[in-house]
């Protein structure tokens, strides 16, 4: 049971991440490979504020969202000068930069040692120490992220995002200053990712840079490509599939070591197969 709850919590956290990335990649067509950076910022902000300042978890989420928002605004502004492949390259450059900062700003992040002892959330005397309660909380936030994503993509704003994805030059001629739209969605996606980071930090009780490397961004991208770009249900479904997959591998008898290694191989394989046979993913409404 504990084990299922653990899987459930991970699915919740990764659903938020996948929803956040789907806003930029799936709906807006900006191939951003830097989501782990904002995920990491959220995680570190919560880790530092909880361990060093005893701040409330929920308050730390807000601070993390604010900091990710400001940083993503700057990164998004720089990236707005690039198109297509260059955008993707630039974005993963930023992931590497942020990762190096986690690793090297030792006075703040303790570098490779990481930050242990992060506590569980508390609100009005209610604590979320029990994993089942924590799962409830994550689920609520994942649901909120889902509803908010649906609200955004079904608005007039969301339709403009899709038009930017299809042909940015054309939608500009019809009177849209697309820079503002791209920046707004990039920042919204980054703040969502930082919420996921806060939950991750508090759940695992420990953060270190390795959780927010480039490979993590690629993993999140794999989730939405599998689930289906430009579909919020697809993002959640993708998170579900790619989180339980390694567990299934363990069940069919691979030892945990091998399962861990197989994981990377399977993700890679899934991506290649999808690109070949079903580029729109399971529920996707858009092909890269």
């Amino acid at each position: 049971m504990e084990y299922l709850i653990h899987i459930g919590i991970l699915i919740g956290i990764y659903s938020i991440l996948a929803l956040s990335l789907n806003l930029t990649v799936g709906f807006t067509g900006l191939l951003s490979i830097t989501q782990a950076a904002f995920y990491g910022i959220g995680a570190y902000v919560t880790a530092i504020l909880l361990t060093s300042y005893g701040m409330n978890f929920f308050l730390s989420i807000l601070v993390g969202m604010f900091i990710s928002g400001v940083i993503s605004f700057i990164i998004g502004f720089v990236l707005s000068r690039f198109d297509g492949d260059y955008f993707a390259l630039g974005s993963f450059g930023f992931n590497i930069i942020v990762y190096s900062i986690f690793l090297n700003w030792q006075s703040l992040t303790r570098g490779p040692l990481g930050i242990p002892g992060i506590s569980k959330p508390e609100l009005f005397g209610l604590d979320f120490n029990e994993n089942i309660v924590f799962l409830g909380l994550v689920t609520i936030f994942a649901l909120l992220a889902y509803l908010l994503s649906e609200f955004i993509v079904n608005s007039s704003f969301g339709r403009v995002l899709k038009a930017i994805r299809e042909d940015e030059k054309v939608i500009q001629v019809y009177g849209y200053n697309t820079l503002f739209y791209k920046l707004t969605i990039f920042v919204i996606g980054a703040t969502f990712a930082s919420i996921a980071g806060a939950f991750f930090a508090s759940y695992i009780t420990y953060v270190d840079p390795s959780s927010f490397a480039l490979s993590e961004s690629i993993f999140i991208l794999a989730i939405i490509i599998l689930g289906g770009l430009a579909n919020n249900k697809g993002a959640v479904l993708g998170a579900f599939c790619l989180i339980i997959l390694p567990e299934l591998l363990r069940f069919v008898g691979f030892s945990s070591d091998i399962a861990a290694q197989m994981r990377q191989v399977t993700y890679g394989l899934i991506l290649v197969l999808l690109m070949l046979y079903r580029p729109q993913g399971l529920l996707g409404e858009y092909k890269l």
């Binding site: 608005s155 007039s156 994805r165 299809e166 030059k169």
Partner: protein
């Protein structure tokens, strides 16, 4: 009075002068034909006037009063300009109706976030799509339309730009809207252009078919190598020796 004029505008690509010190004007409420051999700069002129490329030199004058040296793509609709593309450019992986709705809704990030299209948006989209005979196809993805339907959808999209919801386009550039269309579709497009004229809109029509030019246009501008070769009423312009030479010399 010309609603839109160019003053010695120039655009070169590498060594080629696509538009070469060109000064022309488009009269308000008239249909102006823009013709010339392949590669004479017709599409480039439209691209310059809609901010798709910046021009190297010269300026653009609106209503003989406002002169600008630069046109940004997202500003041209504020000047009332809208256009189609020679190589039809749709929002491919969006439904037909969304291709129309997207130009009807608010142009501001915050207000568009809190806006969902309303009944009057849908009504307008319905009106436009019925005009171009695509209402039955409204839920189809644009990418699945036939070539002719794609051209018609693009024309529907610029009709929606004169919707009265804040983007009142009054200068319409059509870049070869008839190319590759069946006769019944041509009739639809002719109807659209004539209707725009009745509404007092300014139309610029790039077209190779001389019969259509004679039938529709009040005035014709002939380009050759990015320069003005001739202009006048269709009969005048087309009768000129140099125009015949330019066409025959192809």
């Amino acid at each position: 009075m010309p609603i839109l004029e160019t003053k010695k505008i120039t655009k070169h690509f590498d060594g080629v002068y696509a538009i070469d010190g060109l000064s022309v004007g488009f009269e308000e409420g008239k249909i102006t034909g823009l013709i010339g051999p392949n590669g004479s700069g017709k599409s480039t002129l439209i691209n310059l006037l809609t901010g798709t490329f910046p021009f190297d030199k010269g300026s653009v004058v609106f209503s003989s009063s406002e002169e600008v040296k630069e046109l940004l793509p997202y500003e041209v609709s504020d000047y009332g300009i809208t256009r189609t593309f020679q190589d039809v450019r749709l929002f491919e992986q969006m439904p037909v109706i969304d291709n129309i709705l997207v130009v009807l809704t608010k142009r501001n990030v915050v207000s568009s976030l809190f806006e969902k299209h309303k009944k009057f948006h849908l009504d307008k989209a319905e009106e436009v799509l019925k005009k171009v005979n695509l209402w039955e196809k409204r839920d189809e993805l644009a990418v699945n339309l036939s070539y002719g339907q794609r051209k018609l959808l693009e024309i529907g999209r610029i009709l929606a730009m004169s919707d009265g919801f804040g983007n009142n386009s009054n200068i319409f550039f059509f870049d070869e809207p008839f190319a590759g269309l069946f006769p019944e579709m041509r009739k639809i497009v002719i109807g659209v252009i004539e209707h725009l004229k009745q509404q007092g809109k300014t139309v610029v029509l790039v077209e190779h078919n001389i019969d259509i030019i004679r039938e529709l246009c009040d005035h014709v501008i002939v380009l050759d190598n990015g320069k003005l070769l001739a202009e006048g009423t269709p009969d005048e312009a087309l009768a000129k020796r140099e125009v015949m030479d330019a066409y025959l010399g192809e």
